[in-house]
Symmetry: C2
Amino acid sequence: MESTKYVHGYSEREALRLNDQAATLDDIIHNDSRFSKESLVLEAGCGVGAQTKILATKNPDSNFISVDLSDDSIREAKGMIKSLGINNVELMQADIYNLPFNDETFDSVIICFVLEHLHNPTQALNELKRVLKKGGTIVAIEGDHGSTFFHPDSKYAYSAINCQIQLQKQNGGNSNIGRELYPLFKSVELTDISVSPRMVYVDASRPQLVEGFIKNTFTAMIEGIGEKAIKQGLVDNSTFEKGIKDLYRTAESDGVFSYTFFKGFGTKN
Amino acid sequence: MESTKYVHGYSEREALRLNDQAATLDDIIHNDSRFSKESLVLEAGCGVGAQTKILATKNPDSNFISVDLSDDSIREAKGMIKSLGINNVELMQADIYNLPFNDETFDSVIICFVLEHLHNPTQALNELKRVLKKGGTIVAIEGDHGSTFFHPDSKYAYSAINCQIQLQKQNGGNSNIGRELYPLFKSVELTDISVSPRMVYVDASRPQLVEGFIKNTFTAMIEGIGEKAIKQGLVDNSTFEKGIKDLYRTAESDGVFSYTFFKGFGTKN
């Protein structure tokens, strides 16, 4: 585990250094998602493989087993991985609370944007820890909607964002889980815990992030839950529309937008 | 200005690299507050010299003129600077809106935690730009109370923080000005503008910041405005007390606290 330890200790500083130069969200989040040569990595909750393809491409000498609860997602991920000619990933349907692997199977575990959806993230982390070898590292990446702020400020925009937070809560999840990675890792008794915030700060000097993050990632996501939120009475139509308009307003030449992801690292003793 | 330019371009990356290792707020904010040898630097709004002593000590080969509107503050700063044996600082009373200096006097200008108090930050920046040489850099450091979030979450804590934001607003200031450095620098037509967020992320793995930032800096500051806020009816006593208690709660072993300062750099063409 020498080299894993190196990657881990080095990761935060390197991440911060690279963060500023990062032109895309993937750079900010995954610039240090590196695993040791020959290591076997579990990706838990891969969905349709959006992170899988980045991880597998960045780590051609590691082998990934990527699992998801949804058969449909696994099918789609398989097609995508095949079409890209990626050959170091095995995809399979599995339940994160009850993984079909022996204790201490994996050198590393990575879980991206999954804990936010779970009603019991601690139980999931304990299961991930079970299948991790001693000395191995769990890496978790999560967003935190409550970290969002912007200029010009707008109470309507906050109302729209809050709809997403409420809907996630109704589903048993937690949109603000990023800030909780440290206590979560503590609660499952991981050691050498280190949490690295990845702030996506965007102003007009970073045009790729203006398009790629403010508009096409964050605001598009909030816009997408409008109908449901209005139907459920979480917000009225006019407030939500103003909120979306004000979020797009932050993408103009004098606007500023900030959102923080968190990347947690913890070791199994 | 070759070497100033270098310091400027280098600063953001270096700051991010060092930020993670920084044990104190001063490290996070000032690790890259470096000025060229022999350069003449204006520090605008030095108060009693809290930043002055850091800047002067970090830059023994630069000369500082530090000004403040308050005669009393300047007197106090003079005593402190003398007692520390610092000999590269000249302190004087002056109005930031009407500085007693010729055009293009300074190689660099730095302004820390001052714009948040001004009713017209744009006018002040224009005056700073006037006394700056062509090719010189203005550096501004400001906090942003609206960037604060924490775990465990607490509406009472947000209410207490909001009192400080409201009081600052009543005084004609803006507690959330950090996020606005980019548009402010644009509005006075500085060039090569780059804004570097300095997130102070604190969990129990960073005990110096738990004490030094969560407790003794941030929460102590909010606690300090309680009487005024309650007297003005901005908040009731019980809510404010709960808010302060909940802020201290974030300093416990499973707590997390995050606040973002912004450091802006801009060049005069």
